[in-house]
Subunit: 205 residues, 2 copies
């Protein structure tokens, strides 16, 4: 098995185990076992668990950077719905990361730096999208610049924490719960959507 | 030292240590040491760390139940500001609890049950407050019942996670950061506030 293929397999298995048991509850030995490779082979690729976590994050970041860059070219409410659900699905797939976010970023300054760089870029993208949406008449942005910033910050806090919130109620949760997160996200934008848009949203929700 | 006094001292020291190092990073031995009591004496009061965490939560719950019950008797925006800041300060004081919430509730079904009972009661109180606010003309509630529910859910997700959010940016944070959380919470209510109220809010923010 080629080196790159082995790394992909390690990452995929580690992600699955971390999502199920939390990153602290999974040893590198167990990741090796699930990946069908020896401890030595795993050590050759990753000497520490934090390196695996950093590579999992890098995968997520690359996917976002590649696939999400053209959002502002589709400034309409259908695309906004698509964007919010895509974001929630992504967080669902990498849920251990968002569940343990504060601790993981405290433990690894490089991860913190990269995560915040991604967040900054994503925030600029969202602002560009909202501005395009306003220009095309789908929404009216709040007059005050700081209110636009508050609205974007709320979008972040809500989407990053929606799955954690649902998790505190149910023992198990599944992808259906993501729809609730979408409803919450849309509800904070709702007062700013234009009438036509508003109807479309009611229909979607 | 009386038994009750000893327990209070254990709880206060445990809370301080958990906030600084996380509950997983603090042994019961260390709590005994900081509390100036023997390991045996601590074991007499608490045989497991989870019992200490449950008592810390009970203290928080009792404080909320006793001091926060008359909010609906003061339906005005000054009191709303006071309520949001009080909530954020409370979460700040018990920040390890909200930082580790998903894991703590997974590990202890009794804690999960009690936490969600408290959340249900608090949610009813918030609804009563918002209804009173609307009756007195300070805000217009969304027409659709589910939008009111979404607004309340957003309030919860934002307030419970604000400190975690700030924590992912700074190495250190302090009570000043709570003001940012207040601004975010007010921003999602802002579109529903009446003009007079809106002016008062701009002044406060």
């Amino acid at each position: 098995m080629a080196s790159k293929e082995t790394k992909s397999r390690i990452i995929a298995n580690a992600l699955d185990l971390f999502n199920r048991f939390g990153s602290a509850g999974v040893s590198t030995n167990r990741i090796a076992l699930e990946s069908g490779i020896s401890k030595g082979n795993l050590n050759y690729h990753y000497s520490k668990k934090s390196e695996i976590i950093l590579d999992i994050f890098s995968d997520m970041r690359d996917e976002i950077s590649l696939d999400w860059r053209d959002d502002h070219l589709h400034p309409n409410l259908d695309h906004m719905e698509f964007m919010f659900l895509r974001q929630l699905h992504m967080i669902w797939r990498y849920r251990f990361f968002y569940r343990e976010l504060v601790g993981l970023l405290k433990e690894d300054p490089l991860l913190r730096k990269r995560f915040n760089e991604l967040r900054t870029r994503r925030r600029e993208s969202l602002k560009l999208f909202l501005t395009s949406l306003a220009q095309d008449g789908y929404m009216t942005l709040p007059r005050e610049e700081d209110q636009i910033e508050h609205l974007m910050t709320s979008t972040w806090v809500l989407s990053e924490n929606w799955i954690n919130y649902v998790d505190t109620f149910h023992e198990t949760l599944d992808e259906k719960d993501l729809q609730g997160g979408y409803n919450i996200l849309m509800s904070i934008f709702r007062p700013y959507l234009q009438n036509g848009a508003d109807t479309s949203y009611s229909h979607a929700a």
